[in-house]
């Protein structure tokens, strides 16, 4: 079966700023494919090219077999798209929003109901409420229902979980997993590393380039250096000490913890604890850890050097 979304050397620049630099990848039919990267990495530009809103400067794309530049009319019937800033019509009710989006795609709520049933059923009790009065999670469900009501073949979701609480984010990803079971290809972007594990495959994107495309497990496993987690109340001091250590590959702050990677094949936690104690940080807890996608991302993003500026 042909790939659902194919990009070949896609290139887009705004003035002298390269938004997307020769990006190539392929998404299989029915796959839940994630683009993970920070703000400004080029995710939105990439999505806009794929949904036919922006014409690339170079390269080619195929979405469901159609060229977004030349066959955009036909393509627009087949895809679903949820833009990053998408916020529905606040002054229309839940049902009016859904009905409107069904109408402009030439369908009805009833015709698309079985696909959105599970999602829409959760907000249906509030169908007369204005969309502006919904909680963030409910808005998200309504937006997804609106993007799905015309049964698209490929669904593009640009940062659908940005600004949504943790519980709603988890629910949202559960919904995407169920949608994938319906055979819809889903391409989603997110700045949250932890969400990457919910995808079938993940592309790490940074400054308009892909740093790697693979399953989440394979990406995490590609981290080939020993990794230690360091917990101490004096994180900034510890970070400075670790980075100046002769065997250090990298040291990053990850929330409450520090992640330290060593250039050697093995490193004992006790050695690092001693190093810190010797530098006047005696109470650090150091233990070995398995690398996650975020570790790989940070590593690939910055190469082997650990610039002191980014803490």
């Amino acid at each position: 079966m042909a790939a659902s979304v194919v990009a070949t050397e896609l290139h887009k620049a705004y003035g002298s700023t390269v938004a997307l630099g020769r990006v190539s990848f392929a998404v299989e039919p029915g796959e839940l494919f994630g683009f993970v990267g920070p703000d400004g990495a080029g995710k939105t530009t990439l999505f806009r090219i794929l949904v036919s809103l922006v014409v690339p400067d170079g390269g080619e794309a195929r979405v469901d077999g159609l060229d977004p530049v030349r066959q955009y009319r036909e393509l627009r019937r087949r895809l679903g798209y949820m833009p990053g800033r998408f916020s529905l019509y606040q002054d229309l009710s839940v049902e009016e929003n859904l009905r409107f989006f069904a109408t402009i795609f030439g369908t009805t709520i009833e015709a698309g109901y079985d696909l959105i049933r599970e999602i829409y059923a959760q907000i249906e009790p509030f169908r007369d409420r204005r969309a502006g009065a919904l909680s963030g999670g409910m808005k998200q469900k309504l937006a997804l229902s609106c993007a799905l009501v015309h049964r698209p073949k490929v669904l593009f979701l640009d940062e659908p979980t940005t600004g949504v609480d943790a519980v709603s984010r988890r629910e949202f990803w559960d919904m995407l997993s169920r949608l994938r079971a319906e055979g819809i290809t889903i391409v989603v972007s997110t700045p949250y590393m932890d969400e990457a594990t919910r995808c079938d495959r993940v592309a790490l994107i940074q400054e308009g380039s892909l740093l790697g495309v693979d399953t989440p497990a394979a990406i995490a496993a590609s981290f080939d250096r020993p990794l230690l987690v360091v917990r101490t109340p004096r994180r900034l001091d510890a970070l400075r000490v670790l980075r100046s250590y002769e065997h250090a590959r990298s040291a990053w702050s990850f929330g409450e913890d520090l992640h330290y990677a060593d250039t050697r094949d093995r490193v004992e936690p006790a050695e690092i604890a001693r190093l810190l104690a010797g530098a006047g940080i005696p109470d650090a807890v150091v233990r070995p850890a398995t690398a996650g996608i975020e570790d790989v991302f940070m590593d690939r993003m910055h190469g082997t050097a650990a610039p002191g500026a980014a803490a």
Binding site: V55, R73, R77, Y81, D91, L92, F101, T103, I104
Partner: protein, 374 residues
């Protein structure tokens, strides 16, 4: 077509649900009508005129009485020329008539006498009007005296003495409201159509819903027409409201054809809507769209169209600029229909200009509305 209807219904809902906009759209025409109709009067009524030296003199007193009798004036006697300056300063009078001492005797003896008219020219337009009224009164009084043979001097018998008999047509009472209502219609149409259209389209851009509309199978023309259709309807309702209220409250007539009036109003509305589309397709925020609409469209509509200041009394460069203000042409048309009761033969040129402008803006607006993002 069902798709399109759904779009228009949604657009109507936006308008109806937004209370503030609703109040502005419906209430603003009425408030402006009240303002222009009742408050902002151009005509001169009961302006106080100071008179110096008329107390003892029959002839001078006769003139003062006539000035006082005119509806435009009210005479305030001043005891001496020294009082003139303070009276002007305090705003007690806007004009002063100073009779020379022995006015009647000199007139009888030499056939001529000096009357000095001093006018407060802080507002030049008003000053001119005041002066014109005063001169008219003086002239008619002079004619009266001559008829009674009270003025000697060069005999009028020689014959050719031209006495202009002035008649003001179409608006004999010179009521400014008659002039303002057509201008007000132009202003409201511009405001509702251009401003509201550009705001409603840029709002979709800000909300991010425009991206979804573009990605939908809707054609750009469907999006645009669906967006502006409700405003077109609303505008014509507003025109009707203004006409009815101005007729009922201010007795402003529509002497010409209502049908023609509405066709021309619809033409101007489409012109304003196209301008709104043009603005919104070139801006991406409601703020910017609003600023451009207000500064770029409303100001010229008020100031350069002849709405308040006659185009003919503007400096030449501004007159040239006024040619590209659509409201200028519309004003000529609508005033001709309403006040003069004229038909298409009187303003087909202006109509053609308006048709040309509308076509230009419409094409430019639709062309710059992209099926894609920049």
């Amino acid at each position: 077509m069902n798709t399109f209807r759904g779009f228009v219904v949604k657009e109507f809902r936006h308008i109806v649900r937004d209370r503030r906009t609703m109040v502005i759209l419906i209430g603003m025409p009425l408030v402006q009508l009240a303002l222009f109709g009742a408050a902002l009067r151009n005509e001169i009524r009961e302006t106080r005129v100071g008179v110096v030296g008329a107390v003892v003199d029959d002839v001078a007193r006769g003139l003062a009485v006539r000035i006082d009798a005119a509806p435009q004036f009210e005479v305030v006697p001043l005891a001496s020329p020294d009082e003139i300056e303070p009276a002007f300063r305090s705003g007690r009078v806007r004009q002063v008539a100073v009779f020379e001492p022995g006015f009647a005797e000199r007139l009888a003896r030499d056939g001529t006498a000096d009357l000095q008219v001093i006018t407060d020219a802080t507002d030049p337009n008003t000053a001119n009007t005041l002066l014109a009224y005063t001169s008219a009164i003086v002239a008619s009084y002079q004619a009266e005296l001559a008829a009674e043979g009270k003025i000697g001097g060069p005999a009028p018998a020689v014959g050719v003495r031209i006495v202009p008999e002035v008649r003001m047509r179409y608006n004999p009472e010179l009521r400014s409201v008659v002039l303002f209502v057509p201008g007000l219609i132009a202003l409201i149409l511009m405001l509702v159509c251009a401003l509201m259209t550009s705001i409603t389209i840029t709002r979709e851009k800000e909300l991010g819903t425009m991206e979804v509309l573009l990605v939908s199978p809707l054609r750009p023309a469907q999006i645009l027409v669906g967006k502006v259709l409700p405003y077109l309807a609303l505008s014509l309702v507003n025109v009707l409201t203004v006409l009815v209220v101005s007729r009922w409250a201010f007795d402003v007539p529509v002497r010409g054809s209502y049908a023609l009036l509405f066709v021309e109003a619809a033409l101007f509305t489409v012109c304003a809507l196209s301008l709104g589309i043009l603005i919104s397709s070139r801006t991406s925020s409601q703020q910017v769209a609003m600023m451009i609409a207000l500064a770029g469209l409303l100001m010229p509509t008020v100031l350069l169209s002849g709405f308040i200041f006659p185009v003919s009394s503007m400096p030449v460069p501004l007159q040239v600029v006024s040619h590209i203000v659509p409201a200028k042409w519309f004003l000529v048309i609508i005033r001709a229909i309403m006040i003069k009761g004229a038909g298409l033969e009187a303003f087909w040129k202006e109509t053609l200009v308006l048709v040309g402008m509308t076509t230009f803006f419409l094409v430019a607006g639709i062309r710059s509305f992209k099926e894609r993002l920049a």
